[in-house]
């Protein structure tokens, strides 16, 4: 996309036409939004539509989210491209209540109050700043179109305020949020954006507490059943319905695979260690992960998994953990992040199925250990080992050598053959899933932050800011 030609973006109406079921869109009136200019021909602010036959509300960024909350169905925000400043600021200049209004205040309040009551999706399909970005930071699922960007404010404000000169792409492009985990999916085309949204919603009930969208069971994929060396995705393939895995945040903390999938038709959240992560050239961070261990349940991986656990608990999806974790790692905030994930797993009230495929050490053990035995399934493959430290990494931990003998781990629900993993989980889910919804309003994880507060590998040590110095010379 050349700088010289201004790209032509689809209007919101066009987006909805391509996203939703044909002919299902019922546009809303301007819905009392003061920032929309009534004489703007492209001022469709959204409305209701059907996706796979189920009602949703679609709007510009966070506009109209209150309608979805009231109707108890999903909300999809299409980034509007501008913050409040460019949209309403020039007109409203000097009207001081716009501090709240221009920051998207009413929308932010609704988003903070929603507590994951309905699924909220954000599609970043053009450069978005200000309230479009704030909305994205409060969404359950973020899909970003390559070429579009998302940042708190625009490169122009940066140039004026701090003299930092960056492009849109450098500031908040797909590669930025692909690696820092703020985008769940990167789409190469608009059609991929629409497909990703439809796919994400296909796993979730329309509202927290609604019935799970169970489908016809499908046979498992042809993943590698050979055992220990299974890569995370193959392992999921072999356990879940064929082709059902919808991976989330693939390139962030690649040592852990997270996603939504189906198991005998039942939607589940799935977490699997991927000991072989890093072979893909695309995953730059994997190199660092590999250097420090296998990356499963690294600090970032804990954040990655926590987001999934919170989403699944809020919407009542059972969780499946396929654990192969080599041990704890010393990195900044490792303890807190591991504890956060352990807390999330402990506080999640949906059924949890934990399979130790090879090793459960460090944070892998922490999420396994305190599982609620009464409701959860904890099994291990033959020869699986568990313990806080890996006894085989013995030279480093000589004093723990003596504990090698407990490596033959006896899990609460027994040892299973790898080939029977799917059957065991399915039987458990059938046994515990009843007609009652798996969520309740008071559920703690529904209130946890929507975006997780991951810290970059590169800690920003000095952030020189000329903002005030420069701007106060007047």
């Amino acid at each position: 996309m050349s700088q010289a030609t201004k790209p032509v973006y689809p209007t919101l109406g066009e987006h909805i036409g391509r996203l939703a079921d044909p002919g299902s869109f019922v546009p809303a009136a301007h819905a009392g939004d003061p920032t929309v200019q009534a004489d703007d021909p492209a001022a469709v602010v959204g409305g209701e539509a059907l996706i796979d036959g189920r009602p949703v509300t679609v709007g510009q960024a966070g506009h109209l989210v209150v309608r979805a909350l009231a109707r108890r169905h999903p909300y999809i925000g299409i980034s509007s491209g501008t913050g409040g400043l460019a949209r309403g600021g020039k007109r409203n200049l000097g009207v001081l209540d716009t501090v709240w209004g221009m920051s998207g205040g009413p929308m932010l309040a609704e988003m903070c109050d929603r507590l994951r009551g309905v699924p909220v999706v954000s599609a970043v399909v053009r450069h978005s700043f200000g309230d479009s970005t704030f909305f994205t930071g409060l969404s359950d699922y973020v899909v970003q179109l390559r070429g579009a960007s998302m940042a708190l404010t625009s490169p122009r404000v940066l140039a004026i305020g701090t003299s930092e000169r960056v492009t849109m792409e450098e500031l908040g492009g797909a590669d930025v949020h692909r690696l820092n985990g703020q985008a769940d999916t990167i789409a190469e085309t608009l059609d991929e954006v629409y497909a990703a949204i439809r796919r994400f919603l296909s796993f979730l009930p329309s509202f927290a507490g609604g019935p799970l969208p169970v489908r016809e069971p499908a046979p498992p994929g042809a993943g590698d059943r050979a055992g220990p060396a299974s890569r995370g995705r193959q392992l999921i393939e072999s356990v879940c319905d064929r082709g059902s895995l919808f991976e989330l945040r693939r390139d962030f903390a690649p040592g852990l695979v997270t996603g939504l999938a189906r198991l005998e038709g039942i939607p589940v959240g799935v977490v699997a260690s991927d000991p072989a992560a890093g072979e893909s050239a695309a995953a730059e961070r994997a190199a660092a992960e590999r250097a420090a261990g296998d990356g499963a349940f690294s600090a970032d991986a804990c954040l990655k998994a926590t987001r999934l656990v919170c989403t699944c608990d809020a919407f009542g999806l059972p969780l499946v953990f396929l654990v192969d974790s080599s041990g704890p790692r010393n990195e900044p905030a490792a303890i807190s992040r591991a504890m956060m994930l352990a807390q999330a797993v402990q506080l999640a009230e949906v059924p949890k199925c934990i399979v130790i495929t090879r090793r459960a050490h460090g944070a892998g053990l922490l999420i396994t250990g305190p599982a609620r035995v009464a409701t959860d399934l904890v099994v291990a493959w033959p020869d699986a080992r568990a313990g806080f430290y890996d006894g085989e990494a013995g030279e480093q931990h000589q004093q723990y050598q003596q504990y090698q003998q407990y490596q033959q781990y006896q899990p609460p629900d027994g040892v299973i053959e790898p080939a029977s993993t799917r059957g065991t989980i399915a039987a458990h889910l059938r046994a515990v899933l009843g007609p009652a919804p798996l969520t309740r309003p008071g559920r703690i994880l529904r209130t946890w932050p929507v975006g997780f507060l991951a810290q970059n590998f590169v800690i920003v040590k000095t952030l020189v800011c000329y903002f005030v110095q420069k701007s106060s010379r007047s």
């Binding site: 020039k90 701090t162 504890m339 956060m340 480093q396 490596q407 903002f467």
Partner: protein, 489 residues
């Protein structure tokens, strides 16, 4: 404990035993030990009797007259952090049941060179891993009682876990706190640099004092009465506070001096002082009432907010909400610092988490704009969205963006048309126009700010507000969802 030899080795290393730490921490003669005769349960590898304590020394005690439960790693036995007796878990549950603070002293790895000592065996660990330390109970604690973790010796593994689940983490300088054990290259996560540690001390005695100080601001349990100081500190006018804040917006000043002046003398106790210093968090007292203070610090990056600032503030707000401590927010910030580095550092979700946290607060909140507050930062830090009290000093500037930057952005098309020589003048004029609009009376007109007050009246207005709240019977405080948020992310 592990016998005289082990104790001698601990002393020779210049360290203190578990019982010595407890004696130093709690009120004299108040320690009432339980589980003195607990031993490691696997007799195969621990055949000798006499190594009593089970890796943890603990029991009930009093701290400044208030009941607490304390548990300390007994580093005179092998790998005490493995804790096969389940004693820490039992002690935590007792504290929870009695609704008073639980204090854990972590030093599980402290003396690794004592040679083989009796300890738990692998078989035992394999059966019971994860179920023995207080850890599984702490996961669901929801800030029901204050939990303190004091790292007074090297700690890793199970001994380190409470550090990730406590309300106050104090670490002795020079000790290693890590999830994994020591690594060959000596690498370890620096907990202080990552913001997890609330206070770093150089002596165990300092750690004891910090724990007493921290707990002095909190009720014994969530929903309990706040420990209001007995002495009556008058709430007079104090015109001197205004002199601490230079009128010129670009001049830096020490926000902590403003906080100290606002709070009762000597009552301010800062947390995480070394981390994200452009925001200050800590406890204080106003009219004797404990308060949590969150304040921008213009000495550092002009008080601009980084993603780290959001983490620090979220963590502190959750703590205050958990125990019903009112919040005072002092604003003087140009806003969130925007940069490519900040975006890479996930500015978006961190800023939004701060917004979410402050939206979920149920404790009374007072915000005061002492000089400037712009854009989203103001929207987030302002108290009146949750029916708190929002105040501004007369010289405050409040608006959607710093005026000179705003002028530049808003009038960009106009500026482009102007001759080079006229641009600066035009911008200055527009910025000045905006500056007038940004005076606090505009936001006071539509109740975005509840009142514009003289700086000298701040202490009285805030103090009266808190007294009124306390008298109208706020307790028992029923903590909102923030009580169950993680302590750190």
């Amino acid at each position: 404990m592990g016998g005289p030899q082990a104790v001698d080795a601990i002393h020779a290393a210049g360290r203190r035993t578990a019982r010595e730490h407890i004696a130093g921490l709690v009120d004299p003669d108040s320690f009432c030990e339980i589980g003195t005769f607990a031993t490691f349960t696997d007799k195969v590898t621990a055949p000798e009797a006499g190594n009593y304590g089970g890796g943890i020394i603990g029991g009930q005690a009093r701290l400044d007259g208030r009941p607490v439960t304390v548990a300390a790693d007994d580093d005179s036995v092998a790998w005490p952090s493995a804790r096969s007796t389940g004693k820490a878990a039992r002690l935590y549950q007792m504290a929870r049941q009695r609704r008073h603070p639980y204090i854990e002293i972590a030093q599980g790895d402290a003396v690794p060179d004592l040679g083989p000592r009796p300890g738990k065996t692998g078989t035992e660990a394999g059966r019971t891993f994860g179920a023995e330390p207080a850890f599984p109970y702490l996961l669901e604690r929801g800030r029901a009682i204050p939990v303190v973790s004091a790292v007074l010796g090297d700690a890793s593994g199970a001994s380190s876990l409470s550090a990730g689940l406590c309300d106050f983490l104090v670490q002795l300088d020079g000790t290693r706190l890590s999830l994994a054990g020591p690594e060959p290259d000596g690498a370890a996560g620096d907990a202080a640099a990552s913001g997890e540690v609330d206070a770093v001390v150089t002596e165990p005695d300092e750690a004891y004092a910090a724990i007493r100080r921290f707990l002095s601001y909190l009720p014994s349990h969530s929903g309990g009465p706040l420990p209001v100081a007995a002495e009556d500190v008058p709430l007079g006018y104090d015109d001197g506070i205004a002199t601490l804040v230079p009128a010129r917006r670009s001049r830096a000043y020490d926000m902590k001096a403003v906080i100290r002046r606002l709070c009762d003398p000597g009552s301010f106790f800062e947390l995480k002082a070394a981390y994200a210093r452009n925001i200050v968090t800590g406890f204080g007292r106003l009219a004797g009432i404990p308060v949590g203070v969150v304040a921008n610090a213009p000495m550092r990056m002009a008080g601009g907010l980084t993603p780290e600032c959001c983490l620090k503030a979220v963590s502190f707000v959750c703590l205050c909400e958990g125990f019903g401590v009112p919040l005072i927010v002092l604003q003087d910030t140009p806003g969130f610092l925007v940069s490519a580095a900040a975006e890479r550092d996930r500015a978006v979700v961190r800023v939004m988490a701060l917004l979410q946290a402050l939206s979920l607060v149920t404790v009374p909140t007072v915000s005061v704009v002492v000089r400037k507050a712009f854009g989203l930062a103001f929207v987030i830090l302002d108290a009146n969205r949750r029916a708190g009290l929002s105040l501004a000093w007369p010289g405050a500037e409040i608006g959607f963006m710093d005026p000179p930057v705003a002028a530049n952005v808003l009038f960009e098309p106009v500026i482009r048309e102007l001759p080079e020589t006229e641009r600066a003048e035009f911008l200055a004029a527009k910025a000045a126009e905006l500056g007038v609009v940004f005076e606090p009376y505009g936001v006071a007109a539509n109740l975005t700010v509840d009142e514009v007050i003289e700086p000298g009246a701040t202490r009285k207005v805030v103090g009266d507000y808190l007294r009124g709240w306390l008298e109208s019977g706020p307790s028992p405080h029923v903590a909102g969802p923030l009580a169950s948020w993680p302590r750190w992310f």
